[in-house]
Amino acid sequence: MAKVTIDGIEIEVPDGTTILNAARQIGGEVVPPAMCYYTSLKETGGKCRVCLVKVTQGSAKDPRPMPKLVASCRTPVADGMVVQNITSPDVLEARKGVVEFLLLNHPLDCPICDQAGECDLQDLSYEHGTEGTRTEFERRTFDKIDIGDKIKLHMTRCILCYRCVFVADQLTPERVHGVLNRGDRSEISTYIEKAVDNDFSGNMIDVCPVGALTDRTFRFKSRVWFTKPMDAHRNCSKCCGKVVLWMKGNEVLRVTGRKDRYGEVKEFICNECRFEHKNPADWTIEGPRHINRHSVISQNHYEKIDLQNLKREVERQIVFQKGRQLPEASPNS
């Protein structure tokens, strides 16, 4: 086990845990955002750089600070490590920079994007970005393509997190798409137009943090905040069968995997569950899905307050606010 302090809050985690996952065990504001890391996909992370944090003390044994900000999603903790996330002005400044870089070429047309309301980039810019933009250059655009009859690829919106490539590598028998070209000309593509067609390809949609990969069976049927998400399951021979049904009245508009509070699906679902069962009678409905109250999707949803949860949250806030006073801003910033 290793004791690590993040923004003044101490926690003990198993050796090998990453800083990000240690922070997630604490919860709340000290959790760095993550756009490319995905717990259930091996080797993801390190690319988007939004989860950068400052390690002010490497470990109890070697207390030297790390010379640069590190990607919290790929850096393991060490016993006695001290980390600053939102208590470091350097981190906040760097993150603001990364958000700006990610938005340099991302269209700012959320009102017409199908991902709006459940877009990680939208949340990220809201929380860490700045008002207005400093770029006046034309944004990079690509044509929309259908990769198969179920998935739409709109490369213009892609932030090159590589998650969908890892899905294809790790969940499907043969990857036919990948990252082509180099630098800011990079794109997700099959090169010669080819359908991505296998039992688990639909998970590419769930792992996409933005509106680059969307469900063609759902596109523009409804704003996501007008739907009611319900946990449901069925007996499936290919996957766990545990899904979220996005319903309007008695109609199932969309089926997705179940995302946790960090937007990650822990149990992937098959294409049959996702695309072929839009009849509510196919499912055992468990009840309304808990949605983070701060998200856009939670509009129109009312939930009973969980007092236990609220108590935990208040206590955590008190510790956090205390810890926040401790570290001083670095002299250079």
Partner: protein, 440 residues
């Protein structure tokens, strides 16, 4: 005349061939190492020599070697980084083309020290004609029993191959190079693990620059301590400098570390002064990535001491008034040079070469180039200069590999030392100054 350790026999007719190279004392280090020294003893000499990585980072070579994971039961690899692509740098090409055997010899001696049974020379694809030269030298070494099974009758065996890249500066970054050698895109890996633990095929691996490996030859021949006597302080030995730009005698020069910069630029033995009788304006001393310095700061430090060709002296003053020795790519600019345009060629380069894996570099390098392009085309705005400084700052230190830093430093330093020129560009310029660029 400074001592020459690598280029001593450069003018010897036929030195490209095994016979002449051998007559001139070639392959003595292999004989000495394999027959009279343990691998650890070879490593010890390299440590004593104080040799620092000649690719640009200047990390102590002996220390890098000592990190190799000897407890692993996997094979170990030595990979030579001949992906020389840093703008302004062409010393490795010169060495490999003219004295290929010194690299082969260094590879054998170094592989022995590291316990590698198979080694690779990863060379940039554009140097394809040198692949032929190296393969011929390797064939000769095999034929003479310096490569292959039981070298010189010892129980040490080594296979050595040349592996060409295909056009990607990023493959000079050691983990990107290993990815490329494995047949993948040259995306740098996240570290840790470092190559010494998990490098090529996840096996313990050392990656060294061409010149670093060649320097092992004189170090073993004369001993690490003798080598360390050359130079000043922690800058030991000789260094190949690639001199280019507005000088009378561009070319590759082997200098003893410690040579005054002024002597290097103006003496007939080296650059021979500024061309066309003009005055010096600025120098990029260590390849395009390092900060540019104006005349007064490249010849003398901020404290007024003569600037010397050493790692320490060149970086004296930090990035405020200093620079770095880097790869030794010494680019000289005369008084007529438009610094903004020169910077534009660098920024275009980094944009072209960014692998695109991480967002600050992928998006940031493109942005830097676009803003500079706009500045040079009379469409610049005053705020552009501040955006350049700020964007460079936000790339620096926040990327997976050092390419981000390499793209940021030239921008930051050019504006730091030549801000006025940027302001002039932003204010709009006579059209003829930009005609040349506008055509592209």
């Amino acid at each position: 005349m400074g001592r020459k350790l690598l280029l001593e026999h450069i003018n010897e007719p036929g030195i490209q061939s095994f016979e002449v190279y051998r007559q001139k004392g070639g392959y003595a280090s292999v004989e000495k190492a394999l027959k009279t020294m343990t691998p650890d003893a070879v490593m010890e000499e390299v440590k004593k020599s104080g040799l620092r990585g000649r690719g640009g980072a200047g990390f102590p070579a002996g220390m890098k070697w000592s990190f190799i994971d000897k407890k692993s039961d996997k094979p170990r690899y030595l990979v030579c980084n001949a992906d020389e692509s840093e703008p302004g740098t062409f010393k490795d090409r010169y060495l490999m083309e003219h004295i290929p055997h010194i690299l082969i010899e260094g590879m054998i001696t170094s592989s022995y020290a590291l316990g590698a049974k198979t080694s690779f020379i990863y060379i940039r694809g554009e140097y394809m004609y040198i692949v032929r030269i190296l393969e011929k030298a390797i064939d000769e070494a095999y034929a003479k029993g310096f490569l292959g099974k039981n070298i010189l009758g010892t129980d040490y065996s080594l296979d050595l191959y040349v592996h060409p890249g295909a056009g990607a500066y990023i493959c000079g970054e050691e983990t990107a190079l290993l990815e490329s050698l494995e047949g993948k895109r040259g995306n740098p890996r996240l570290k840790p693990p470092f190559p010494a633990v998990a490098g090529l095929y996840a096996c313990p691996t050392v990656v060294n620059n061409v010149e670093t490996i060649a320097a092992v030859v004189p170090i073993i021949n004369q001993g690490g301590e003798e080598y360390a006597k050359i130079g000043i302080g922690k800058s030991t030995g000789t260094k190949l400098i690639s001199a280019s730009g507005h000088i009378n005698k561009p070319g590759v020069y082997e200098i003893e570390l410690g040579l005054p910069v002024e002597e290097f630029i103006y003496s007939e033995e080296y650059c021979g002064g500024i061309w066309k009788g003009r005055k010096l304006k600025a120098v990029v001393a260590g390849g395009s990535s390092v900060p540019i310095l104006p005349t007064d700061l490249i010849l003398k430090t901020a404290k007024g001491e003569p600037r010397l060709m050493t790692y320490e002296s060149l970086s004296d003053g930090g990035f405020v008034s200093g620079t770095m020795l880097g790869s030794g790519g010494f680019i000289v600019m005369d008084e007529t040079t438009n610094i903004v345009k020169n910077l534009y060629t660098f920024s275009r380069f980094y944009h072209h070469e960014s692998c695109g894996q991480c967002s600050p570099c992928r998006e940031g390098t493109a942005w830097l180039e676009k803003i500079l392009h706009r500045l040079l085309h009379g469409q610049g705005k005053k705020k552009d200069i501040d955006i350049l400084v700020d964007a460079a700052k936000k790339i620096e230190g926040n990327t997976i590999c050092p390419l981000g830093d390499a793209a940021a430093w030239p921008v930051a330093s050019a504006i730091r030392h030549f801000r006025k020129e940027f302001e002039e560009e932003a204010a709009g310029l006579p059209a003829e100054r930009n005609l040349e660029l506008a055509t592209h």
